[in-house]
Symmetry: C2
Subunit: 344 residues, 2 copies
DNA sequence: GTGAAAGCGCTAACAG
DNA sequence: CTGTTAGCGCTTTCAC
C-alpha cells in the first residue's frame, strides 16, 4: 500500500474505481454482512491500492462509530496518571481504537464541558480518571446510555461503571502491619473526609485496630486534605501529645513526607523513634530517606480494567458493568520498624 | 452557563434565537471582524445561554480549524514519554487547544498511517515524539506546509522543525566528570551508530578526551544498540582487556545497567573498581544499587519547547522554525568515584 | 455587515 | 445484495 500523506482519496473515488456505489464501500468499511464476497474483495483491493484512509470527522458526523475513545484526566503532573494511561493504552493496543486525551487541569467545569463535547459524537466511549464532579454528568450519560467508565480510586463514583482500588483493605493491611511490628499507639492522618477513599481508609485503619481489641482514639485521628502541609501539621500535633504514637499512617505519600519532616524537625529518627507509612507508592517514596513503606495502588491494572470494562460495555450495552475493586499491595521499606522507644 | 450533556444545540438554533443567519454565528465563533459589535454581543449571549458547544467533527469537516493538535508517540511504557507529554500539556493548557494522542507501539507503518490520517484535517498540527521513520512523511508534510514538530532526542530528523537534547555536550560533560575524578582510561559503549544521537554522544566523549590530551582508543569504543545486553557484552569486553578501563560511559541507562551486571559478574565493585555513567536518567537509575550517575535529558522542557514551536508555526507559517537543542544535566550518584585500583 | 446556498466525506434509511 | 437520497453541523464563497 502506498501511504500518500496528501491523499484525499474519498469513498466516492473508491466507489467509482470499483464500479459500485459509495454506500457499498461504506458497507465494506463497516463490515456489513450484506455485501457479496466478490464485491467486498474488489472494493478492498481498490481501497488498498489507492491508499484510502477513512475520514474520521465525516464518519462521526454522519453518526457512525468513531473508533475513538475519550480519556479525561485531571492532570499529567504526577506520573500517577501516566501509569493509568499506560494500562489503558496497552489494552487499547489490542483493538483498533484510538485515544483522545483531555486534561482538565483539575477544573470541574472543564471536565463537564469536555464530557459534553466528547459525548456529542466525537468518541464511542469515555474513560474518566479521578473525576472531580462526576455528579454533573453521570446522570445525563446514564440516561443517554452513553458508554463510560470511571477510574476512581477516590470512591466518589455513585452506582455506575467504575474501577477503583480497595482502599479499605489497603489501609487495614498497612495498619495491621504496624500492629504486627508491635505498635499499639498508631496515629492516622486522613484525606479530605468528603471523599469516599478517605472514609474507606479511615475505616480500614479502625478495623485493624478493632481486630486487635484496640480502641479508635479521636486524639490519634487527624483530618488532612492530601497535601504535604497537612502531614506536617498532623505529625506535629501527634508528637505534641503527652503520649505520642510510635507509628503514623498517612492516607497518602505526600502527607507521609510531611510527617517525616515533622518528625525530623523534632530531632526524632525514622523509624527508630517513629514509624511512618504512606499510601499510593508514588515514585518519590522510593527515593526519600528513609524509603517510605506504603500501600501501592495497582494503577496500570486499573487502567487496563477500566478499558476492558468499557470495551465490554461497547460490545454489550445491555449488561451492566458494575464496579471493580482492585487489590492494593503493601510495599515495606525503611520507614517502619518495631517500636524501640522507652518502655514497650 | 448551563452545561447540558445532552444538548444538541447547533449553530442553527443559536442563529434562530439571535435573529441572525448561521453564517453570522459562524463568523462570531471564528472571530471574524466583519460582524457588528452589537450583533456579536447578542450572538455570544445566546451561545452562552444555550450552552452551545461547537461540534468538532463538523468544523474540521467543513475545513475550518480544529483547535486540536495531534501527538504521536512510540509508546507509553517507560515514563520517559510521559514527561514529554506533561510538558506538552502544560504548554497547551495556556491555549484553547486540545490533544489527541496516538501510540504507534513502535511500528513505523502505523506511524506513517497516523500521520496521514491526522494531517487529513483532523488536527491543526502534529507533534511527533521519537519518530521511527520520519523520512516517510516529512517531505510530504513539508510540501503541503502542514505544521509539525519533531521531538527527537535521537537527532534523526533532517532539516525540519525539531527539538532535541544536546547529546554532544551531555556526553562531553559526563566524560569530563570522569576525567576530573582522575580516570584516564574510560570506555564508551555507543548506541546504534546510524542514529544522530549516538554519533553526537561519541563525538562528545572524544572531545572531552581530547581536551585532556588523551587519545581516543578504538579498543575503548564498543558499539551497542541501546539494549541492556549490549551493555553487558561491551562491559565484559572491556574487562577482558589486558589493561581495562577504570570507568565506563554507556550511551544510555539501560546499557549502563548491563555494564553494572557485567562488572558485578566479574566480582568487581562499583564504583570502587569501576565507575559507571549512563545517559537519560530513567527513573530506574535512581533506585538501582548503586544509584547510577547519568546525564539527564530535559524531557519536560523538550515537550514544552516543541509545543511552543508548533504554536509559533501555527501562528506564522511563513517563518521557519529551525531546530532547538536543549541542555542536558549531569546527575551524579553513587556509581562513580575516583579510581581506587592498583596504581594511580 | 449579513444572508443564501453549496458542499466537506461519510452513514443510514429506504427502495429495489 | 446494491443504489439513491438525505442529511450530520459547520465553513465559505458569492451576493446583496
Amino acid at each position: 500500500m502506498v501511504i500518500d500523506t496528501d491523499s484525499r482519496v474519498t469513498i466516492v473515488e473508491v466507489a467509482a474505481r470499483s464500479g459500485v456505489s459509495s454506500a457499498t464501500v461504506s458497507r465494506v468499511i463497516n463490515g456489513d454482512v450484506h455485501v457479496r464476497p466478490a464485491t467486498r474483495e474488489r472494493v478492498l483491493r481498490v481501497m488498498h491500492d489507492l491508499g484510502y484512509i477513512a475520514n474520521r470527522q465525516a464518519r462521526s458526523l454522519a453518526g457512525g462509530r468513531t473508533d475513538v475513545i475519550g480519556l479525561i484526566v485531571p492532570d499529567l503532573g504526577t506520573g500517577y496518571i501516566g501509569e493509568i494511561i499506560r494500562g489503558i493504552d496497552i489494552e487499547l493496543g489490542q483493538t483498533g481504537l484510538d485515544l483522545i486525551l483531555y486534561t482538565t487541569h483539575r477544573t470541574a467545569s472543564k471536565e463537564a464541558n469536555y464530557v459534553a463535547n466528547l459525548a456529542q459524537g466525537m468518541v464511542d466511549g469515555l474513560v474518566l480518571v479521578l473525576p472531580r464532579s462526576p455528579a454533573d454528568y453521570i446522570e445525563a450519560l446514564t440516561r443517554r446510555r452513553f458508554p463510560f467508565v470511571l477510574v476512581d480510586h477516590q470512591g466518589t463514583g455513585r452506582d455506575c461503571p467504575a474501577v477503583g482500588a480497595n482502599n479499605w483493605r489497603g489501609a487495614r493491611d498497612a495498619t495491621e502491619f504496624l500492629l504486627q511490628l508491635g505498635h499499639t499507639r498508631i496515629g492516622i492522618i486522613t484525606g479530605s473526609m468528603d471523599l469516599g477513599c478517605s472514609q474507606d481508609r479511615l475505616a480500614g485503619y479502625r478495623a485493624a485496630l478493632q481486630d486487635h481489641q484496640l480502641p479508635a482514639l479521636p486524639e490519634l485521628e487527624y483530618e488532612g486534605a492530601f497535601l504535604q502541609p497537612d502531614g506536617y501539621a498532623g505529625g506535629s500535633a501527634f508528637l505534641d501529645l503527652a503520649d505520642p504514637p510510635s507509628a503514623i499512617f498517612a492516607s497518602n505519600d505526600v502527607m507521609a513526607m510531611g510527617v517525616m519532616d515533622a518528625v525530623r524537625n523534632r530531632g526524632l529518627r525514622i523509624p527508630d523513634d517513629i514509624s511512618v507509612v504512606g499510601f499510593d507508592n508514588i515514585p518519590q517514596s522510593a527515593v526519600v530517606y528513609p524509603p517510605l513503606t506504603t500501600v501501592q495502588q495497582p494503577l496500570e491494572d486499573m487502567g487496563r480494567a477500566a478499558t476492558q470494562m468499557l470495551l465490554r460495555i461497547l460490545k454489550r450495552p445491555e449488561e451492566n458493568a458494575g464496579r471493580v475493586e482492585l487489590p492494593t499491595r503493601l510495599v515495606t521499606r525503611g520507614s517502619t520498624s518495631a517500636p524501640k522507644g522507652r518502655a514497650g
